[in-house]
Symmetry: C2
Subunit: 295 residues, 2 copies
Amino acid sequence: MPAVVIDGRRISDEIKAELQVEVARLRQEGIVPGLAAVLVGDDPASALYVKMKAQACDKIGVFSDVIKKDNNSSLQEVLDLVMQLNGRDDIDGILVQSPLPRQIDEAAVTRAIEPSKDVDGFHPFNQGLLLAGRPLFEPATPLGIIELLNRSGNSPSGKHVVVLGRGFLVGKPLAAMLSVKSEYANATVTLCHTGTRDIAAHTRRADIVVAAMGRPRFLTGDMVKPGAVVIDVGTNEIIDPAHPKGKRVVGDVDFDSVKEVAGAITPVPGGVGPMTIAALLKNTVKACKLRHENR
Amino acid sequence: MPAVVIDGRRISDEIKAELQVEVARLRQEGIVPGLAAVLVGDDPASALYVKMKAQACDKIGVFSDVIKKDNNSSLQEVLDLVMQLNGRDDIDGILVQSPLPRQIDEAAVTRAIEPSKDVDGFHPFNQGLLLAGRPLFEPATPLGIIELLNRSGNSPSGKHVVVLGRGFLVGKPLAAMLSVKSEYANATVTLCHTGTRDIAAHTRRADIVVAAMGRPRFLTGDMVKPGAVVIDVGTNEIIDPAHPKGKRVVGDVDFDSVKEVAGAITPVPGGVGPMTIAALLKNTVKACKLRHENR
């Protein structure tokens, strides 16, 4: 029996609908959550992501301010902008779209964001709270994955999860988050990476596999335990002459072979991707509520 | 063939001897590394730990200042002291001995320490750098364990390490540190805890087991793969009428049964314990060097 396909768009819509209700309630009190999105340079993919995030804000009643900076902006100019956003009362969350142009030290920009407005969760202070199991903001993609698991009836609690990839954006924080003693996590996590000797030996034992290493269709059906849940975080562009555009996006999972073995699987696109935006919105509304509670 | 017993005292002495040479060199430049140890209250175990740390400083030429505060000190008094130490030029590292009296919010004290003097590595900012794989100061016990593995000829690189216990002091940071892509780490790590269904199934597959859950003699010989390396972080006081004091300290590992199966094992005491102090000294000397380089 082929795997159940987990619908990330539907679950993401569910979260957005919940947030919309919360935002409406806040607005009745005269509070409007606000997100500032900083876009430096003219990378078309970055521009698209920022646009999608702003549209998602609009849809649920969150104010969004997209601020574009020139491709040759200096580090100081971007830091000045961030400091200004830190001080703005109408802005609860600040995101600086990655990647930044070469001349800009991304870590320095991240550290300039006031931790209470760091809705991307990448400030070292927030990463530290995450590791300590008392997070303020959890990074969007791992948070989206944990929501996806819980809301699709695949609670990770008590399960053995194998995470593939030790990246800063997904693998590392996800492993820490899944290990936390909470009803939404509480998993036994194995973190595999390029230094792992026999990845298949690990994945074959896993109840849940999360593939986040950026290698197209790496995880194949023979590497998965029958009935396991497989989450695909990859977005790899591959050449495909058969496709109208000559190329298409595939995940880190070989969908066709894995879906014959797994119990549940996320598609690419339409799996983890939409969850990331929902998680960002969730953090923004949280930031707004915390800022107003602490007054 | 019974396991090789890893001598933590010898390896700790080796590190201290190296640090002593480094400190002598710094002193020739007129630089004396300094550690401030804050002891609040009259817990005898805490007093002993602080005394051991100060003595270890003395021995390698590091200046130490032990500052004692009354058991009923207020949070504000302790914060004021920390702020004062942050500003002192003769102090490179600050440690506040745990546990603190009830009325003092330990997290608030940790956050008050200037991250560049946080040689215990527990400030959220430093924990965040740790998770991101670009650490400034690594917490002493996990750092000591990684030194112990590498210096005893049991490099974790490419190995499967099972860590038992998801505590803030050892398990969680150690799992993150062992996963980093570096010649000293680069391990595939599984983090087990009270939420893990079958701990023995995990430990039996491990090349290295680190037991850090605080359960006396939990890990027994039948739970270990022949030839595995076993690191015991536990220090549990148990009643023992046969002992002159009526009690003694045992680890999380059942030494007698495990040593018949494992390839190498650390004793308690004399294994991880001494490494923790060596790691603290290492961080203090590092803090001193960084502070003088950045001038």
